[in-house]
């Protein structure tokens, strides 16, 4: 069985899940079966089939489990979104189509991801540039400046795009400087320290992260970038010391930030004592916890939990974005929540397998970094809504409402699949190569 057939096989249960979910939500809504959302579901299915076909044509050896997993997560997310607010679900479906197009575009335009290596610094600058643009042109929503309005009531989160650019930049840069970084030339304060040329951009990056917090008030994205950064340094150098040092700097830095930025203080205080201001600051988190409790073990079922009040407001504010996970766990219970967590675990496991199987340093770092990005993002937001860590405003990949998030994460997966394909293809020589190798071997034999 080829990889693509296997993939198609796994997409069947994913699709069934989606349709079953949509039907359940629809029937919970009225006493009769409403077939309206089914059209949207068929549309999304078509998008995924298009992605699958593109893979068949352009990346037939790619990992077969990645797309179906994305399918399942997207399906659950879309179904839950439909249950909360059908209008947003319709929007999200359209964004998924755009994401699908971006996915296909990536596979078509970037058959060999290694070309990205040539544009290391350009990409890095572009990433920083996007963040600068957000700083200058962004609109403040809920105290954080993450979005840029593009008319029609839609906003884009350029930070999401910057995330990928930064990963690509770091993968290329670290690959280059890997040897330099791995061998410390000096000691500073008893810690092994790499040479300045390698260290300088690294520290610059760190500074940029913290500036993000202060200026944009985006604790979450800064944390995410820092996490990606530390993860990739560790992958590149294999030295835990650097990670430890980086974490240490982070702790000092955030302590500083904590004392200076009131919003961060609120978030941390709220994390430690959510019920002390349950009606004000703590409202979001407390409502999320109540919703989780209502979910219990197997949950009341789709459409049956109390997520929307009688006059149409969300019980948990920003339910569609930050608290999407709470919505799912509230309706589908612990079983559903763990299911989602396992879904993400499968996703990152496949991503790291792709990284480990890759043949060259850049691919390894790129795949590892992209996977770490998704994993860290999921941990950050789910950790926040379950009160493991303070709440941050990052989105839950594939499930939160948000066009930028959907599109960039689809592109991210496309990159992973491209790397995966190239690796497998590189490892299994194409028929032509094999024939060429055979011909060369025969020629050699005859010559001797």
């Amino acid at each position: 069985m080829t990889a693509r057939t296997r993939e198609l096989g796994f997409m069947v249960p994913a699709a069934l899940l989606g349709f079953l979910g949509i039907a359940t939500v629809a029937s919970a809504r009225t006493d009769s079966l409403d077939l309206g959302p089914v059209a949207g579901a068929i549309g999304v299915l078509a998008v995924f089939i298009a992605m699958h076909i593109t893979l068949r044509l352009r990346a037939p050896h790619a990992d077969p489990y990645l797309l179906p997993t994305v399918g399942v997560l997207s399906a659950v997310g879309l179904v839950e979104l439909d249950r909360i607010n059908p209008q947003l679900a319709a929007d999200q479906a359209v964004w998924m189509a755009v994401g699908g197009a971006a996915f296909i575009g990536t596979l078509l335009l970037l058959p060999d991801h290694r070309v990205l290596e040539r544009y290391t610094y350009l990409i890095g600058l572009a990433g920083v540039g996007l963040l600068l643009i957000t700083m200058v042109f962004g609109t403040r929503i809920n105290g954080a400046k993450l979005w840029i309005s593009i008319g029609g009531g839609q906003t884009v989160q350029l930070g999401e795009v910057a995330k990928i650019l930064v990963v690509v930049f770091l993968a290329a840069f670290l690959r280059d400087k890997r040897e330099l970084l791995a061998v410390p030339t000096r000691r500073m304060m008893g810690m092994p320290v790499p040479p300045g040329t390698a260290l300088a951009p690294v520290l610059l990056f760190l500074g940029a992260c913290l500036s993000l917090v202060v200026i944009l008030n985006d604790f979450g994205t800064a944390l995410l970038f820092l996490g990606i950064f530390l993860a990739m340094i560790y992958l590149a150098t294999g030295r835990v010391a650097y990670t430890g040092f980086g974490l240490g700097l982070f702790v000092i830095g955030s302590a500083l930030v904590y004392t200076v930025v009131p919003r961060i203080q609120e978030r941390v205080d709220n994390w430690l004592h959510p019920f002390s201001d349950a009606q004000g600051q703590g409202y979001q988190l407390v409502q999320s916890l109540y919703a989780l409790a209502q979910g219990g073990i197997i949950g009341p079922g789709l459409g049956k939990a109390f997520l929307v009040t009688a006059n149409g407001n969300d019980v948990i504010p920003v339910l569609e974005t930050d608290f999407m996970f709470s919505a799912v766990a509230s309706e589908l219970g612990y079983v559903g929540g763990v299911g989602i967590l396992l879904g993400f675990l499968v996703l990152i496991q496949r991503g790291f397998v792709i990284a480990a199987s890759a043949n060259d340093g850049f691919s390894k770092l790129l795949a590892g970094g992209l996977t770490a990005a998704i994993g860290l993002q999921a941990i950050l937001i789910i950790g926040g809504v379950t009160r493991l860590i303070p709440l941050t405003g990052v989105t839950l990949p594939f499930m939160s409402y948000g066009g930028s998030s959907v599109v960039t994460n689809f592109v991210l997966v496309a990159l992973l699949l491209a790397i995966s394909h190239r690796t497998t293809e590189g490892n299994t020589p194409s028929r032509r190569r094999r024939r060429e190798a055979e011909d060369a071997a025969i020629a050699e034999l005859e010559a001797s």
């Binding site: 919703a291 409790a293 994993g375 941990i379």
Partner: protein, 478 residues
């Protein structure tokens, strides 16, 4: 680099494992305490999604029901109270912002379907959550008699079957409309405190009705009989001042029986002093004074009766140095609820055995099976059968010849036994007018207590007729 990759994966997987644990904490371990959190509106709102059970009267009338509606595609239930003000304080309401009161609160678990194996089956979505119906022993005909009697007055009336303890009527006035409580609470006028259940929460000086308790103690002690002789000079001196009779009457020679018939204060004061705190206190305890009556209503709406300190805390029934003379005639900061006094009448009626008052009669699930049936529960024997029989005769005299003629049902051929009480205050227009009693005297089916607040009239005039109407309705309803 592969080792690093594997380590990184393990770290992230560890993070996910932590999330699994954390999620399990909120959804399984701490879930119950979160749901019961005082600020948690979600449990409340989740209840609106449930088909709440009905509350029914003994004669099958619907006192509370749920109706389905669709809001934004979601099916929610709203609560209806078709009987309006009937037994409003007893039935109680369930509202978003004001919580729950009365029976709606006590039996919430059953009304929301969270009983027995239901929760498990509902979790598997095999059964839709449907609350069970709670049937009360309140009979609307008896309740109406009570409500009618209290119209335009401030006071309370409560009646039960003394042989089983099942409450037949529970009326508090002024009261409120239950339907309005859930649709437009703020429009309900608050003068007169309509939300207080005066039968269980209102504490009044009992006046002469307390003489039944004193008489019980007297007969039980063995030192007195119904024919014990006393001489009334119109005044009885105590360290706290002289005790006089109502309207300063002088009765001269009297027996225990005639003293009860005519409610002679001096005689009972004498008896009180003769008995002393221990004996009198023991009888009070046996009747349930000092303890919260075990009725199935929320704790914050049921108060114990007894001697009050600062109008709030209840003192022990047998404190040394108390003025037993004044306690014996129902004074000395005694604060009693109508429910407690009904229990007094009930113990006498039931041959000396006090039955615990209950509102719930049975709980039936939507399929028709009875989940719970209320069983009569004895609280204890307050007096011997002989004493009960003697007291009954004495109390029959009160209604036939004495201050309680207003409660007679001779036209219906029913013998009523009872005792009036008029607790005076410094203002002659503000008496608390009482009547407690039971009927038919030879085989009682109803015991009642009525109190009318702040009236210039006496118990025999203001309260006794209301009690008669209630007792008559109870007998006819059988």
């Amino acid at each position: 680099m592969n080792r690093s990759i594997r380590r990184l994966y393990q770290t992230l997987a560890g993070g996910f494992a932590l999330l699994v644990l954390m999620l399990g904490w909120w959804q399984i371990v701490a879930a119950d305490s979160l749901k019961r959190h005082p600020l948690n509106q979600q449990t409340l709102q989740a209840e609106k999604l449930i088909d709440r059970g009905r509350i029914l009267s003994a004669d099958g009338k619907v006192l509370a029901a749920s109706r389905a509606r669709r809001i934004r595609g979601q099916r929610v239930f709203e609560r209806l109270y078709p009987q309006g003000t009937l037994a409003a304080n007893a039935v109680g309401y369930t509202s978003d912002s004001r919580g729950k009161t009365g029976i709606e609160s006590t039996y919430n678990r059953y009304l929301t379907g969270s009983f027995g194996t239901e929760p498990f089956l509902q979790r598997l979505n095999l059964k839709e959550k449907k609350g069970a119906d709670v049937q009360l022993s309140i009979d609307t005909r008896v309740q109406e008699a009570a409500d009618q009697g209290l119209v335009g007055k401030t006071g309370a009336a409560v009646a039960f079957d003394p042989t089983t303890g099942q409450v037949l009527a529970m009326a508090s006035s002024p009261t409120f409309d239950l339907q309005q409580a859930v649709t437009n609470f703020d429009a309900i006028p608050t003068d007169g405190s309509p939300f207080i259940n005066r039968t269980t929460q209102g504490r009044y000086p009992p006046g002469s009705t307390f003489k039944v308790v004193t008489a019980t103690a007297a007969l039980e002690s063995g030192d007195f009989t119904p024919d014990s002789r006393f001489n009334d000079t119109g005044s009885y001196s105590t360290p706290g001042g002289p005790i006089r009779n109502f309207s300063g009457e002088k009765f001269g020679e009297n027996t225990l029986t005639t003293a009860l018939t005519n409610s002679i204060n001096t005689t009972f004061a004498t008896i009180g002093d003769a008995l002393g705190p221990q004996t009198l206190g023991a009888t009070m305890t046996a009747y349930g004074f000092g303890a919260r009556p075990p009725i199935d209503l929320p704790d914050d709406s049921v108060l114990p009766s007894g001697r009050l300190k600062d109008n709030r805390t209840v003192l022990p029934n047998d404190e040394d140095g108390e003025d037993t003379a004044r306690i014996a005639i129902g004074q000395e900061q005694l604060g009693v609820t109508p429910l407690q006094m009904m229990m007094v009448a009930g113990a006498v009626a039931n041959h000396g055995v006090l039955m615990a008052p209950r509102l719930m009669q049975r709980i039936v699930d939507r399929g028709g099976s009875v989940i719970q049936r209320s069983q009569p529960q004895e609280m204890g024997r307050v007096m011997s059968e002989t004493t009960a029989s003697e007291l009954t005769t004495m109390m029959e005299n009160v209604v036939r010849d004495g201050t309680g003629t207003g409660a007679a049902l001779s036209s219906a051929g029913v013998t009523v036994a009872g005792k009036t009480g008029t607790a005076e205050s410094s203002d002659p227009n503000r008496n608390q007018a009482w009547f407690i009693g039971f009927a038919p005297a030879e085989a009682p089916v109803v015991a009642v207590a009525v109190v009318v607040e702040n009236t210039p009239l006496t118990g025999g005039v203001a309260a006794a007729p209301i009690a008669a109407a209630i007792m008559r309705a109870a007998i006819e309803a059988r």
